[in-house]
């Protein structure tokens, strides 16, 4: 009997509601709704209050995650699974949420200028996080799609949160291409359902190894799913939106997108491909490996010629997606692939957000001219930074060297772990390509340091003071501390990633 017909004969299962399993998601939802109401009925509410409420929501969600720590189960008839990946991704996502909130609270505008970003940013941030956390836990393709839409819709709006033309353009671009990728994903889900008669990952895993199933249809579905995910993680050749969007959106949002979207999208990538589709690894691994190769090399090569730091970070994030794809490719056969990817995501989230925080700090410097539309993120704005702002330059150096992968900073361990997983999975050639890409990437990370440290400041006119930046300072301190501390003592977090290797459902 055709699997579809078989599916039709079964009664629709009514899922049992497992409140505890989705408690952190619920907390984010409640906090988001409360903030929305505050914004609606108390239009004059200060930044401090809104940011405080957001942080409170994140802390509650964090506490609930801790409460659920030892819970390992599949909930809602297999739609949501609580396992290592879920747990790890939740913690990382909530941490990026805290850092992003601090960055948003600082704002992009300089002292004395009117506040540019609307108060709705905070609830949108929480809704985006809700989608991401749910995405990391989703073990049914429909939940994957819903979670992806929640996070994408919130991010489309966040990307255009200011009235800057560049931000509007970025939001539009992101929306159009994002909608396009959602369509791919949905088509992929439909084909998978057609081939296996289920959207549940566990069911797909079972059906994919069934020799009587419709292999061609399933493979077509898998291909479309891969396209959809590659859009979200900005892998080449689906990366075109990334530089424009990162450059155009306000820096805090760009930082959040660079870190959190990657964490969520790779979590689901790992779960679907190495978990549910692990049986088809022979079919998809060459494709993912090829995508990894072009992603690493194209990302690194194009980053070399950038003159805008935000744009450069966008290309660098593309090449980092390539390294992560090595972890995905390895994960189906060696468990270290999963833990290596998770550890990489954690480390990457902090260092890339840190880099964006320095961008935000530098945006606040400079002559207070009328040209408020131009964000000060061109490399020229960093000339002589070390002489005028040694702390900001020092942190920038830490983040850039960590992104390059210089020991003993955290980025080095992440890179090492992914390389190890790749070699264990027999993908040594892929690791050698990664090495070449790393060397190319050293060029542009070093170029930032060359500009900041080795060149003299332009012009003698005194720069505008950055003003008081308590929230940004705190966020910078946290990101810098984590990058250095994880580098010196990575043991605990590696062990945590190791314990997350098993995929449920």
């Amino acid at each position: 009997m055709h699997p579809l017909a078989q599916a039709n004969t079964q009664p629709l299962p009514v899922p049992q509601v497992d409140w505890r399993a989705i408690a952190p998601e619920l907390a984010l939802l409640v906090a988001g709704v409360v903030l929305l109401l505050v914004v609606a009925f108390r239009p004059g509410a200060g930044r401090g209050l809104l940011a405080g409420l957001t942080l409170a929501g994140l802390v509650v969600a964090g506490a609930l995650t801790a409460w659920n720590w030892d819970l390992e189960r599949v909930a809602f008839e297999g739609a949501v699974s609580l396992d290592g990946i879920t747990r790890y991704a939740r913690v990382v996502l909530l941490a990026t949420g805290v850092l992003a909130t601090l960055m948003v609270a600082q704002g992009d505008s300089r002292e004395g200028e009117p506040d540019d970003s609307p108060p709705e940013v905070y609830p949108l941030l929480l809704f985006a996080l809700l989608g991401m956390v749910l995405l990391a836990a989703a073990s049914d393709l429909l939940v994957v799609f819903i979670a992806l839409e929640i996070l994408s819709l919130s991010l489309y709006v966040l990307a255009g949160e200011t009235r800057r033309l560049a931000a509007q353009e970025a939001a539009m671009k992101y929306f159009l291409l994002g909608a396009f990728s959602s369509a791919f994903l949905l088509y992929g889900i439909a084909l998978c359902y057609g081939a296996t008669g289920t959207t549940n990952l566990l069911g797909i895993a079972r059906a994919s190894t069934d020799p009587t199933g419709d292999g061609t249809l399933l493979l077509a579905g898998v291909g479309l799913l891969a396209v959809g995910f590659c859009f979200k993680v900005s892998a080449v050749p689906f990366h075109m939106w990334t530089p424009d969007v990162y450059q155009g959106t306000p820096t805090p949002v760009a930082a959040f997108m660079a870190a959190a979207t990657k964490v969520a999208a790779f979590s689901v990538f790992l779960r679907v491909f190495s978990g549910a589709l692990g049986g088809l690894v022979v079919s998809w691994r060459p494709v993912i490996a090829a995508v990894a190769v072009v992603t690493m090399l194209v990302g690194a090569a194009l980053a070399v010629v950038q003159t805008d730091l935000k744009r450069m970070l966008a290309y660098s994030s593309i090449s980092h997606a390539g390294y992560l794809l090595i972890g995905v490719a390895a994960a189906a056969t060696v468990p270290a692939g999963i833990s290596a990817s998770l550890f990489y995501l954690l480390v990457y989230a902090f260092m890339v957000m840190g880099a964006f925080m320095v961008v935000q700090y530098v945006s606040r410097l400079g002559p207070a001219d009328d040209d408020a539309i131009r964000e000060r993120s061109s490399l020229d704005d960093y000339r002589g930074l070390a002489r005028r702002h040694p702390w900001a330059a020092g942190l920038l150096a830490v983040f850039m060297l960590s992104l390059t992968g210089i020991p003993p900073l955290s980025g080095f361990w992440a890179k090492y772990y992914v390389f190890l997983a790749g070699i264990q999975a027999g993908l040594t050639w892929l690791v050698v390509v990664a090495v070449i890409s790393s060397v190319i990437s050293a060029f542009f990370y070093l170029r930032v340091l060359v500009v900041a440290y080795l060149q003299e400041p332009v012009g003698a006119e005194p720069e505008a003071a950055p003003g008081r930046t308590p929230a940004l300072g705190l966020a910078l301190g946290l990101a810098g501390l984590l990058t250095v501390a994880i580098g010196l003592a990575p043991e605990a977090l590696i062990a945590a990633a190791r314990s997350a290797e098993r995929i449920l459902g």
């Binding site: 210089i406 020991p407 003993p408 390389f419 190890l420 060397v439 050293a442 060359v450 003592a489 190791r498």
Partner: protein, 492 residues
Amino acid sequence: MLLTATLFAPLVGALLVALVPASREQTARLVALAASLATLVLAVVLAARFRTGEAGFQLGMTAQWVPAFGVSYRVGVDGVSLPLVLLATVLSPLAIAGSWRMTDRPRTYLALLLVLETAMLGVFVSLDLFLFYVFWEAVLVPAYFLIGSFGGRRRVYAAVKFFVYTLLGGLLMLVGIIALFWIHQRATGTSTFDYQALLDFDKAPTTQRWLFAAFFAAFAIKTPLWPFHTWLPDAYTEAPTTTTVLLAGVMSKLGVYGFLRFALPLFPDGAHWAQPLLLTLAVVGILYCALVATVQRDFKTLVAYSSVSHLGFIVLGIFAFNVQGLQGGVFYMVAHGLVIGGLFFVTGMLEERRGTRRIEEFGGLQQAVPRMAAVMLVLTLGSVALPGLVGFVGEFLTLLGAFLENRLAAVLATGGVILGAVYLLWAYQRMWQGRLEREENRAMGDLTGREWAILAPLVAAIIVLGLFPRPVLDRVEPSARRVVEQTQASSP
């Protein structure tokens, strides 16, 4: 514990220097000098406690670092690494004293020199491959900032070229290290980067060749071997002189030390397989770079090329796979460090006085600055390996070792000795002898007390070790013999 203290004393010093307020430059200098002298004292105590005649590692320390990856903090010295530790700890205070007059951000500069010292010492004493790699890459960061931030006109180009080139080699070695780790884990079930453990298990000959190639990439670039040397003249020439002293004196030994400590004993079959290539590259490098040095107009670049040429002898000695060659190689490392350090110091002193390093700007300096000329003569003769000076012992032993292994290579390399005499003595003749024609040269002052304090220890060591090399050779021999045995062990 003592070794760990020696290793991290400069790093602590660097932190202290960084804490000194920016306005108190003199305090920063004193703190930096004190830290490097304290390191030297610790290293001397270490050498005194070292038991001569033992081949194995001594005075070590082991601690867990990242057990999840099998990475540990494991250090120790043997007869091969001890002389290099002493070399590094001797040259560092001299380099700091040499930077005394520097006025451009002296605090940052001295702190970076101290960080560089710790990183280089770490490479010499690491007995865990991962730790070794960490220190290996950590050398890059201070060196990059020292060259790029304080160097000459083309400093940014030189610094980036140095960084990227060395990083490429290092990352390929990392792939090799991970592969070795993984092969060992599959074979024995234990995950460790422990040098001894990775040494003791059997590796298939084909695997050894691949792994040797990966390590070769790192070491050949760092040494550097011809034709991977092109970063070196830029980096040495553009770096501030006291940085060049450490780069040429100590950092250039990291690559050859890596061959000796890791590439040979870990992959004996791979090393034997690659021996013809290595000998060829060494001989070509010796001759080619000697010829290039001959035509240089900038004395600093001349010395830089002479360094590449001389390192060829060390590689030749190491890849002779016999005790004479290895022992000579280690001795030559020390000799080269002392001599080239001195040569760069004098270059810096000339540049301070005259603002130029072009050979044609000088001439007849013997009459203006006789003491400096005398020192320079000892350094030059030490470099051309005059019997009785330190260079001779190293060059003789490496050539002897090479002769026993491959006569042709030894004979050709001897040509390099002659060329070395040509370019160094010719340069000496043009700069220091002849008629004193230029007025600005006549007005130069002779060595100051501080400069004497820097050069006297080097000159003394060059003469004393040249006449009495036994104390060093006796300590090196057992360990060198062990490396030879390990390298021969599994070859047919």
